[in-house]
Symmetry: C2
Subunit: 333 residues, 2 copies
């Protein structure tokens, strides 16, 4: 079996570390693994699969001879190194939003549009975390009747803001306990015992960048150019796993029973839908897993062709690291 | 000025104690205040307005000679004592859901339908907390063009479950900190660092009782018998103040600018809507107040006549105790 020379760009962050874990878990055929990060992190030793790896400084030369680069860095870093990665002949599977809407770059959720990955020209983009969790949950409906619109309100975990998010939450809880003050750095305001209805800056007519991603990325991933999405993204004091409350409207009516069947059979989904017995997805039950949990499925009471759905998924894994490794796996097929 | 003989039924609970505070704050013309509760709480001494009041056991005889009884007890207690209260000639302003949909009982939010209070036959019902916060936020739109439908997802504080809710949250945080286990009693599951998408039992085709209240009570309060509401109610680890993400559709289009004007001028509302400067309603800023804060107003991207809105309000105060005292104030006019 062919083995691959792989690098993780931004290896020391929350998503980069998760990518290392998932490459191992999925027995990805790694010949060499390079951990690339900023000069500041270079030299760090990290254990992986019984080897001690040394973090290397990211630079144009670092990509020579590589097959796959998993990007776990911010937009500016992704943009900075993409040309060198492509020039080196590696495929850049990038988790930043830098290239997601570029018409030359496929945007892929392997459960939904794996065939798009084949059309890459050196870069494949990994979608936004809330978008991945939501679309994996509802994609099966789209197979039965095209999705026309989505109204979504999210309950996003602090780890969506990187490793510093949960640390800030815990520091605030501790400070409040001791009656001390704590100045938020990661979030706009105190997130402990609060919810913050802003993720990202203003992007379009009062919507934030995060809120527009489900429409813009959803259209591309699902090949639904007319898809309409009204999204409200809210940070909640949860450590891990994003939840989304969704009203999805399809061209033709899909019954609740049929939706349950479709979702139960959909790749990457688990149906947990039994209100009488208090069974529904929750962040605590869905963290550190690759599955999107879906429940509370019921008819939308405001339209003829709508369903009301609740889903949860670990946004560091399925919403980021796992999806990127799954894309890399598509490249090895 | 006429003064009134007032009782609080369920005086020792979270809402009952808040009612005492609000009667004083609003200088309600109280001649006598009686604190009624279970036998178990009877005999407790509570300070109010410089007097020491003794909690009395609730019994049919306790209502004789009273003018107004503010109900802060559960449905079964409200049903148990309503006949005796009415027979005694007092008006029962009841915060339970026992009588809300009774056609003989007005259901009143003083900012919206004060005139309905006059039609009472001895009982006036106080609406559900999330319903009050949401309807106060959007009622001004209904004055411009009738509201046809609402899609709502709530972020409900632990104090909505009574005084035990925030105590359980804090006990869980403490137990987790010490690596101990804690058995949830108030909520179905651990609420610390979690969100729970169930409030109330199943009531209608997969919707919970709490979720159906906004449609059933909203129709009655707003005199919109055709109003359609799809609601998802979610408990979040917040101490106080419910938040609601709302898509509201009106018969004719209301522009974002006009909606801001209407809401800024609406009684009981404060417009806090400046995303660029990170200004929007949050639970931490809106607790211990009677105002419903409204922001993030933008066009619904999935319909021609919709608006996307975010609101927060203290559900113990405006969502319960304050609204009840405001109804009592209507009775004194």
């Amino acid at each position: 079996m062919k083995k691959y020379k792989v690098a993780i760009l931004g290896a020391t962050g929350a998503v980069g570390r998760e990518m290392m874990k998932i490459l191992a878990e999925r027995s990805f055929p790694v010949e060499e693994l390079h951990l690339l990060a900023s000069e500041r992190s270079a030299g760090q030793k990290i254990q992986w699969q019984g080897q001690e790896l040394t973090v290397e400084p990211a630079c144009d030369e670092a990509f020579r001879g590589l097959d796959i680069v998993l990007g776990a860095a911010e937009n500016d870093i992704a943009k900075r190194f993409a040309p060198a990665i492509v020039k080196a002949g590696a495929v850049f599977v990038d988790n930043s939003s830098a290239f997601r809407l570029d018409p030359d770059v496929p945007l892929v959720i392997p459960e939904i549009n794996p065939e798009d990955a084949k059309k890459h020209k050196g870069i494949i983009a990994n979608p936004n975390c809330t978008t991945i969790v939501s679309l994996v949950a509802i994609n099966a409906l789209n197979q039965d009747s095209p999705i026309e619109s989505i109204v979504a309100s999210s309950y996003q975990a602090t780890s969506g803001a990187g490793a510093g998010g949960p640390i800030e939450l815990m520091n605030e809880v501790e400070a409040l306990r001791e009656g001390k003050s704590y100045e938020p750095k990661v979030f706009q305001y105190q997130i402990a015992y609060n919810v913050i209805p802003q993720i990202g800056g203003e992007a379009f007519e009062g919507y934030t960048s995060e809120e527009m991603k489900m429409q813009n990325e959803g259209r591309k991933i699902m090949h639904l150019p007319e898809l309409k999405v009204s999204c409200t993204c809210v940070r909640v004091p949860v450590v891990r796993s994003h939840s989304v409350s969704i009203v999805v409207r399809t061209k033709e009516k899909i019954s609740v029973e049929r939706a349950r069947e479709l979702i139960a059979a959909a790749p990457g989904c688990r149906l947990v839908d039994d209100l009488k017995n208090k069974k529904y997805p929750m962040p605590l039950d869905t963290s550190d897993q690759d599955t999107v949990f879906v429940g509370r499925i019921r008819d939308d009471l405001t339209s003829d062709n709508g369903l009301n759905i609740w889903c949860c998924g670990d946004q560091v894994r399925k919403g980021a690291a796992t999806n990127a490794v799954q894309i890399a796996q598509l490249l090895t097929e």
